[in-house]
Symmetry: C2
Subunit: 163 residues, 2 copies
């Protein structure tokens, strides 16, 4: 069972996908170190030394990734200064970066369920109630959808490429 294709996409042999958004997202953030740094940003880490310590990554890699993620507009670089110290910078998740929440937490959900012997170290809950939180596909009417309930249409502006 798979996703359904509708409209001009219904004949799968008649088109091939270019400019795949999943592949573009992987190109942008698809390394282990980028994901762990984005995880820490989501968890409230802002300072270089904390990123290094909490991701157990080298200074050089953290530095390169912070630069890359800032250039991508996922983190915002902001100056701060402590008394008697030079100006330093901290890195805060932007609105664009926050839009990675479903990506990152869906990866956590998958890892917790399938890659950890005991369900993983952390679990997502609703603040206030403590009820479990899941990352799901949701319809406009608020219904949780399974693979069989989902279809894919061509964006109006896109003409499918011939194979």
């Amino acid at each position: 069972m798979a996703v359904a294709f509708e409209g001009v996409l219904a004949d799968r042999s008649a088109w091939i996908l270019e400019n795949c958004s999943m592949a573009m997202t992987m190109d942008a953030i698809g390394t282990r170190s980028a994901v762990t740094i984005l995880r820490e940003a989501l968890y409230g880490t802002t300072r270089f030394d904390d990123f290094v310590r909490r991701t157990k990554t080298t200074d050089a890699i953290v530095s390169a990734r912070l630069k890359q993620l800032t250039e991508l507009g996922l983190l915002s670089r902001q100056p701060y200064q402590e008394p008697g110290q030079r100006t330093r910078y901290e890195y805060v998740l932007t609105d664009k970066g926050r839009d990675l929440l479903p990506v990152l937490f869906a990866m956590m959900q998958f890892g917790n369920k399938h890659l950890q012997p005991d369900g993983g170290p952390l679990r997502l809950v609703e603040r206030g109630t403590g009820d479990p939180v899941r990352i799901v596909a949701l319809s406009a009417s608020g219904k949780e959808l399974q693979l069989e309930d989902i279809a894919i249409e061509a964006n109006g502006t896109w003409a499918p490429n011939r194979p």
Copy 2:
């Protein structure tokens, strides 16, 4: 603004994350070629030649990735035979593989919104109604949650590592 930490995790300086499920998911499927092959499996592709053609990847890479994803239990390898041909194998998404749906579609959603000039080639809709589908964090009571509404607790079986 970031996720809240509760219980034994409330003091962020007192623990450090090991065995991160996001990092483990990246280790398992975190390459562009693995993601595009899983995308095709989600879209109903099952045969080697179709994976090669539709992901525009070399035979060698597709072959290696199909082997890897089968070993991980994300794809199931099943024999088929066409008249007068030798037995071949096709690759079908397993239940475990289907659990990657939120990961893959969340990447599509992010890419469509932020990495494509015109919203990307494909859009997710509800089968039957054609209404838009989004990947979201959902509470047990069916409420869509934002970053500020989510907290993280320690899994009962996990003792936080000292930094």
